[in-house]
């Protein structure tokens, strides 16, 4: 299995004093596998993910180390190159679907825009494939959805649209940053099912979560982060059966208390 994504010695600091937020983080994501980055709020997991797509403001954050997608270094890539990768080869599912779309532009236009950013396609064709992508997600009344403004839709609906958008260019890697956090239980399960389907279809998943339940359901490997450092790593069985760090045990306990049915 080839390594799709290799992060090595990633350090992220807050400018101007380069106050360290992420310290010496290294991990790899292989084809068709999934990796969960687990940790409490403020442990640096979201920042780590954002740095992969160069979503951090370079004026605020100092990023060093190396992030490779296949053979290409992403950290030093120019804006044009990284945008070509984002949304096509590497796609993202965001934490808060309610605020992810421009509130003043209809869903359809935003889907068309995404398609046209990555391929030579006419507006009409893009619109048609947008509808198709939504239909694949089992969304109801897709034509009407395309003509809706984001604020008229529910969070679960929007998250499904985001998932549809993430799959639209058949990516190698999907980064799911707390993709279930802001949703209700029904929609959480829907998102988890979709992520599982993606995994079965051979897409590598990078899951960022504070919820061990999500990790247990989807991940092959787990890394546990705390205060910007990786404090424990292993296969999902290692971590669940025999966690070494006290912090990991604590997180596990909290998670099991919350949703005991998830570890099976």
């Amino acid at each position: 299995m080839t390594e799709l994504l290799k992060v090595s010695k990633l350090c992220i600091g807050l400018k101007p004093q380069t106050f360290p937020i992420v310290k010496n983080v290294s991990f790899a994501l292989r084809e068709g596998t999934s990796l969960a980055v687990v940790g409490e709020s403020g442990s640096g997991k979201t920042i780590t993910c954002k740095s992969i797509m160069q979503l951090l403001n370079p004026k605020t954050f100092q990023v060093s180390g190396s992030i490779r997608y296949r053979k290409t270094e992403l950290l030093t890539m120019d804006e044009k190159g990284i945008r070509a990768l984002c949304g096509s080869k590497i796609a993202m599912i965001v934490q808060n679907p309610m605020t992810a779309f421009d509130p003043t532009v209809k869903i359809g236009a935003q889907i068309v825009e995404t398609l046209m950013a990555h391929q030579r396609i006419s507006k009409r064709d893009a619109y048609a494939s947008g509808i198709l992508a939504l239909q694949k997600m089992n969304l109801p009344r897709c034509e009407q959805l395309m003509d809706s403004y984001p604020y008229t839709l529910s969070g679960g609906m929007l998250q499904r649209i985001i998932i549809a958008l993430s799959l639209i260019h058949e990516p190698d890697i999907i980064i799911a940053d707390e993709a279930t956090t802001s949703l209700d239980v029904k929609n959480q399960n829907m998102v988890l099912d979709e992520l599982e389907k993606m995994k079965r279809n051979g897409i590598a998943l990078l899951l960022v979560t504070h919820d061990f339940g999500v990790a247990a359901k989807l991940a092959d490997n787990v890394i546990v982060m705390r205060e910007g450092k990786i404090i424990e790593r292993g296969t999902v069985y290692d971590i669940f059966e025999s966690p070494r760090e006290a912090y990991t045990k604590e997180l596990l306990k909290a998670s099991i208390l919350k949703r005991g049915n998830c570890i099976d």
Partner: protein, 315 residues
């Protein structure tokens, strides 16, 4: 949307009622007696009986509410009375003076429009760059310089030192370039500052991050999404300033010797020409309120969420 516009038009009537009552009251409680002022204007030293005669003729002996009802009744029939100063009907005077000011304000608004959007956006995108710092300085200067001084400065530079324009010039667009710039600069400066701040706050929104993650180019994000989201507050302000400029063009008009409504109103105030004052205030108030309705309609097109909120479809 149409329901909303209808609602606003109903509001217009209420606002205009308030404006007319206020301006009527204020001009009536002022210490100068209009009958006496009028009498002194037509006769050198009027006898007290003569003044009383005029007062009766002008209907100034009636109770205040009766005077107001008479006046508003005539207004509704399109008769704003006659100017004490020029003896022309007030309508006629306003129709003579308003177009010049409208033209002036329109050109000024054009300057504002083409300057603040690109400058504000570039300033925000390149925050803390040399350009940004320069613009910040220039904007503060633009806000704080009094417009009469700026007007004389422009005349001195562009009409005296380098005679590109004439000091006194009427009737062509060229003659309006300098005055419109003077009128535009303070407003444009404050717009640049506000717009830069709005764009900056929008650049940090979630939708910008997700658009990047979808692979949308920075240019498209800024000029498509961020611009559209940053406009509503400035649109409201823009149309408000249109009203301010119409009403407050007097300074610029007097510096550049333009015969517009601002100067006309100023002259009426100094001459205690009540019919003209009330007429001008009424016309400016109507324009003001219409502008604010226009601003709301444009904002609804920019951000449909506002419409739905107003109509109670969305909460």
């Amino acid at each position: 949307m149409f329901r909303y516009i209808r609602k606003r038009l109903t509001n217009l009537i209420v606002v205009l009622f308030g404006v007319t009552v206020l301006s009527f009251l204020l001009s009536n409680i002022s210490p100068v007696d209009p009958a006496e002022a009028y009498a002194r204007r037509i006769l050198k030293s009027p006898a007290p009986q003569k003044i009383e005669e005029i007062r009766l003729k002008m209907g100034l002996d009636l109770p205040l509410y009766q005077q107001y009802i008479n006046w508003i009744g005539r207004c509704l029939r399109g008769d704003l009375g006659s100017s004490l100063l020029t003896k022309n009907p007030v309508n006629y005077d306003i129709a003579q003076k308003l177009p010049a000011t409208m033209q002036l304000v329109a050109i000024a608004l054009f300057w504002i429009l083409i300057s603040f959007i690109p400058i504000g956006i570039i300033s925000a995108v390149r925050k803390n760059s040399l350009f940004d710092h320069l613009i910040k300085g220039v904007a503060i200067l633009g806000i704080s310089i009094p417009s009469f001084w700026l007007g004389f400065l422009f005349l001195f530079i562009f009409a005296v030192t380098f005679p590109v324009f004439k000091v006194i010039d009427y009737g062509n667009i060229k003659s309006l370039i300098l005055p419109s710039l003077v009128l535009a600069i303070p407003t444009a400066s404050s717009f640049v500052r506000l717009f830069r701040a709005t764009v900056l706050s929008n650049l940090n929104k979630d939708y910008v991050v997700y658009a990047k993650a979808r692979g949308i180019s920075s240019n498209r994000i800024v000029w498509g999404h961020v611009l559209k989201n940053s406009l509503p507050p400035i649109v409201t302000l823009f149309f408000q300033h249109l009203g301010y400029m119409l009403a407050g063009s007097a300074v610029v008009e007097s510096v550049f010797s333009l015969k517009g409504i601002g100067l006309h109103l100023l002259n009426a105030v100094t001459a205690r020409d009540l019919p003209t004052i009330n007429g001008c205030v009424l016309v400016i108030a109507i324009i003001f309120v219409l502008c604010s309705i226009l601003a709301d309609v444009i904002n609804m097109v920019l951000n449909p969420r506002i419409t739905d909120k107003e109509e109670g479809l969305y909460e």
